[in-house]
Every structure is written in C-alpha cells, then in structure tokens.
Symmetry: D3
Subunit: 71 residues, 6 copies
C-alpha cells in the first residue's frame, strides 16, 4: 500500500532562527515521522511560519508584552 504523505506546519515566534536551524528542524521532523508512523520521507512536507511577537498571544498578553514585563 502506498504510504501516506504527511503535512506538518510549525509556528514559532520570529526570533532569528537560522537557515541551519530550520534545516535541522525539517530533517528531524521528517525522520521522526518515518520512525514513529513509517511515513514516506520523500513526500513529507514541512512548512515553518515565523510569527512576530506582537502577533502571538499567550495568557491574554502578546509575547512582546510578556518580554517587556520580564525585563
């Protein structure tokens, strides 16, 4: 039976993740899907969204606010 083609979307705050880090993340998550669910790595798609800290809220506050408050 043809294996499925997983799709992964990862959202992180925009905090200067490097191209190398994003490569490692994509490689790692693709391998993880092989290891845990026997998915086909060739057709695994991973999309990373980097979100401004003004646009990410947790606990009713933006990440920007929380970081300013923690200073």
């Amino acid at each position: 039976m043809e294996k499925a083609m997983p799709y992964v979307n990862i959202k992180i705050t925009r905090d200067g993740a490097t191209a190398e880090q994003k490569k490692a993340l994509i490689e790692g998550v693709t391998q993880l899907l092989v290891d845990t669910l026997d998915k086909n790595p060739a057709t695994t798609t991973v999309i990373i969204d980097e979100i401004d800290t003004d646009n990410w809220g947790i606990g009713g506050q933006t990440v920007t606010e929380r970081r300013n408050a923690a200073k």
Copy 2:
C-alpha cells in the same frame, strides 16, 4: 480535570492594525474562551496573521481589486 488549552488563529487583511489593537484582540479572545467554555487563560494561544490584500480573495476577486473597483 486539567482544563484544555485552546489555540486560536485569526487572519485579517494587512491594514495597519496597531500593536495596541492586536493586544486588545488577544486579551479579548482569551477572556471570551474563559467566559464561554471555561478554558484556562494561562495556556490559551492566539496567533494573528496579517494577509496582503493581493493574497486575500472574496467573491472571486482579490481585496485589492474590490477596493480599486469601489473607488
């Protein structure tokens, strides 16, 4: 029982929403989930995506087109 941790994604056209407006939106939607579903505010995540008007379509037209047509 541990309360759930809702995740909210809000997509709006990129029209100059201010950091203050986005703070109010995040605060409001987090409180709303407490009020309507008794969710835990501490772990409620809200992500706002601002979309270019060329990339948002409604009624088969981009928002850019519709605004130009309305001028």
Copy 3:
C-alpha cells in the same frame, strides 16, 4: 473603503462543548472583531475544530495522558 472579512479558527479539545456554547463563542468572537478592529460582522467567518484528547499534545504528552496522570 470596504472592510476586511476576518477568518478565525478556534481549536479546542473535544470535551462536550454544547451547540449553545459554540453559538456564544462564535457570537462573541465576531463582536470582538467589530469592537477591536472595526471589522464587518456580516463577513466574519469562525470555524471551531474539536480535537480528540489523544491527538492534542502539550509538554510532550497527550492531554489523555495528562488527565490520567492527574487522577
């Protein structure tokens, strides 16, 4: 200028939210977008996804595991 048409996606664990609660949530988030960003309520779309607790992870555990551990 034509107002934008926000799109909201809310993900919650599948914990028996009633139709009444979902109506209140949809009504509330639509009004919130009017109040904070002056969006057009007529074209505000809200989609609620209810997710099985086996399929929702936080802190490296499923919500099912966490609830079992808390018993």
Copy 4:
C-alpha cells in the same frame, strides 16, 4: 437552503507570483467550487500564503537546499 461559504488556503513557495497570477488563481478556485460543489461564489474566501524556500521542506530538505543541489 443557504449555500455554504467555503474557505480555501493555498500555500506556495515565494517565487515571484504576480498580482495577476494570484487574481487568476483566486478567480479559478472560486469558480471551481461553484462548478463542483455548487458553492456560493460571493462568500468564498481564498487566502494565499507565500512561504520562503528556507521555511518549506520536502523529503527532509529545504527547497533552498534542493535547488542548490540541482544547480
């Protein structure tokens, strides 16, 4: 019965799609939903996300890597 209001999200790599191409895509997908599912075009929403090639992975590699390897 009121027809449904489909919502479509299209993710493509950021490769210089023009405003004209995006208009054609939005117009086409809206018409397709009318033709195949008898949906109401007036309330069909289409959002296009353009993703940096460093942030899109396939087969465990970023699209940036794959293009460099193919040179």
Copy 5:
C-alpha cells in the same frame, strides 16, 4: 529549477459532498495550479476538511442557526 509543491486546504460545511465531488474538486484545483502558476501536479497536496454546521459561524451565527431561521 525544481518546481514548487503547493499545499491547498479547503474547508466546506459537512453537507454530504460525495467522493465523486471531492475527486473532481481535487483534480480541478490541482490542474488550476498548473495552469495559473505552472506548479508541479505530481506534488500538489489538497486536503478537504468537512465542518459541522454547528461549528461554522458567519455573521455571528452558526450555519445551523441561519438555516433554521431561513426555514
């Protein structure tokens, strides 16, 4: 240059779309991406989500409410 691999997510209300209609929709949107953006059909992914009418809101009401009101 390797062509991109678009990803499309279509959300519709759960209204009895048949397997044949979903096949036609997937075939059509894949062809549309070839025609408008010269994308590679072999790697175009389309995912259709069918949403209960209690969980889809428009204009501050669920689709269930709107249909009941229109009777």
Copy 6:
C-alpha cells in the same frame, strides 16, 4: 528572556495510527524543538489531524483512488 511556545500541526491520513504512536510522535516533535531551537517543552502544543483518504489529494487524485489503482 522567556522562551517561545511553538505550535505544531501534523496532518496524516486516517490509517489506524494508535494512541501509542501518537504519543511517540508528540513526545518526539516536542523534544526535537528543544534540541534544534531551544524551545520550552512545557508550552509546546502539538495537534494531530487524521484525514480520510477520500479527502486527501496528491497528484490530482485522492489517496483512495491511488490505493485502488495500485491494487
């Protein structure tokens, strides 16, 4: 500085993934975000969506069709 709270959404075809496999996937992806991006595991959210093979298209065909054709 407070670490970010990543959000991960994994879509797979509905093919009988067990609760144990989903636990392993959630544990693995959470650890991967610690290892590659130094994210905080306590606040990493992972949501798995299992999609019917009639609703997942690749190469212009549903996964159901492809599997039938491969028999």
